[in-house]
């Protein structure tokens, strides 16, 4: 049964979020519904944010970039999650079943999505001082039980959508925190660099999502050191464990599962029109470059390699149609800017060289 959730009472457009949450928990049924509806609505929340935070997001010029300038401009943690249940239909958004601060529901997909979105937000806030996907406290919404035995999870431009898997190919798609980090990061990339989702720029887009998906997992594991991390994306996703360990390996591209075609070097770059020009295939190359950089630098990768990649993502010189080489060059440049005179820049160069991208 579906309820139309579009009707929004005008009074809720000026009510602060903490009051909305209170109404959502304690109000009469109609008020609760309207409050839930408003909390989940993108544009209303962003309007509230824009009013409160008058300062625009700074565009760092290369000459003045410092660690502080590269970090996000968020002043306060503003995590606002809503998980929706699509009840195995393809209609969106589905019913809101868990809002920010609400207790566990007992539905693993709902609770895992809630935790995974939170872990992703926390990583971005704690490590990069980025306040949600748009760095302005945008609500973080997940839609679970999408479709019937649906073997996919994706970012639709505004929200994350998860199928249950069919239990033959995939388990439920919320099973791995790095998948959620991956999907949310598509939102970050779209906000920052708009890397076009095809061929090399698309493979970079995919790689950035794998990088930060992995970092979310490593952060969540207690700021795990790079050398201790498994560098796998989507571990446990295959319903048949004999099929493989994970969806992708950043450490050894091409080994995650039977049939994994990811290359680890430009010599093996796959020219194809499938998969938007191989965006999930050729991402293995920049993935490996990040893995090499992170492990050579050592320690928790969020703070150095993760910073260099983040500065690159936000660098105005990174164009939407960037090639691997152009992206690689900017990682080296930003490595030097962020860590002047340090070993970081050379390590970055060596990593790219090892995967066949000469800069």
């Amino acid at each position: 049964m579906h309820r139309q959730l579009r009707h929004r009472h005008s009074i809720f457009c000026i009510v602060p979020p903490d009051v909305l949450r209170d109404i959502a928990r304690n109000g009469a049924e109609e008020e609760r519904q309207a409050a839930l509806d408003t909390l989940a609505a993108d544009s209303t929340f962003r309007t509230l944010r824009a009013i409160r935070q008058a300062a625009p997001v700074a565009t760092a010029s290369p000459a003045t970039v410092s660690l502080a300038a590269v970090a996000g401009t968020g002043e306060a943690k503003q995590l606002q999650r809503t998980i929706f249940d699509c009840h195995n239909s393809r209609s969106l958004p589905g019913d809101p079943v868990r809002t920010e601060g609400a207790p566990t529901t007992g539905d693993p997909a709902v609770d895992e999505a809630y935790d995974g979105l939170g872990a992703t937000y926390d990583f971005y806030w704690e490590t990069l001082r980025r306040n949600s996907i748009d760095d302005q406290g945008m609500p973080v919404n997940g839609h679970v039980h999408y479709g019937n035995r649906y073997n996919n999870a994706f970012w639709d431009g505004q929200r994350m959508i998860f199928g249950d898997g069919d239990g033959v190919v995939f388990n439920r798609l919320t099973i791995s925190v790095d998948i959620m980090g991956h999907e949310l990061t598509h939102g970050v990339t779209e906000k920052e660099a708009q890397l076009i989702y095809q061929y090399q720029s698309g493979a970079l887009n995919e790689s950035v999502s794998d990088v930060y998906g992995s970092l979310v997992k490593q952060y969540h594991n207690g700021k795990q050191a790079a050398e201790d991390a498994d560098w796998l994306i989507g571990e446990g996703i295959w319903a048949d464990p004999d099929r493989g360990e994970a969806l992708r390996s950043m450490k050894e591209p091409g080994t995650a599962f039977e049939g994994d075609r990811q290359p680890a070097h430009m010599d093996d770059y796959v020219n194809t029109i499938d998969d938007n020009g191989g965006v999930h295939i050729n991402s293995g190359i920049p993935n490996k470059a990040f893995y090499l950089t992170a492990t050579e630098l050592g320690g928790y990768a969020g703070e150095r390699a993760g910073f260099i990649w983040y500065a690159t993502l936000r660098d105005p010189r990174l164009k939407p149609n960037a090639s691997f080489r152009q992206f690689a060059r900017l990682t080296a440049v930003n490595g030097e800017i962020l860590f002047p005179g340090g070993r970081e820049q050379q390590i970055v160069r060596d990593a790219w060289s090892e995967v066949g991208v000469d800069i």
Binding site: S91, N152, W155, H186, D274
Partner: protein
């Protein structure tokens, strides 16, 4: 009526997923043939736009290519998730179950 269905994309590249399926209603039991014809008609298939682009910034979405040929019509559409029209959703669900 012959219907050809192909899936592509998704959050991992699976070539097997991209193998097309072809269904000929002449080869189906009468009830199933009727069901497929009904779904095609309910979706307004032959009037659907040929392509619909994914939203800006969308990623890891599944893509569907559906071709239907009858003695009178022949049409191909390219779709990406999420599909908005519930009738088109129903057609895709049916074809996915088949493939």
């Amino acid at each position: 009526m012959r219907v050809r269905f192909k899936m592509d994309g998704g959050f991992v590249y699976l070539p097997a997923r991209s193998e097309p399926t072809t269904i000929d209603t002449d080869d189906l039991p009468a009830e199933e043939a009727k069901e497929l014809e009904r779904l095609i008609e309910a979706a307004g298939f032959f009037e659907l736009p040929e392509t619909s682009s994914p939203s800006r910034g969308a990623a890891d979405y599944l893509r569907y290519t559906i071709s239907a040929t009858t003695p009178e019509h022949s049409h191909t559409v390219h779709l990406t998730d999420p599909i908005e029209d519930p009738h088109v959703q129903a057609l895709v669900e049916y074809l996915q179950r088949y493939s």
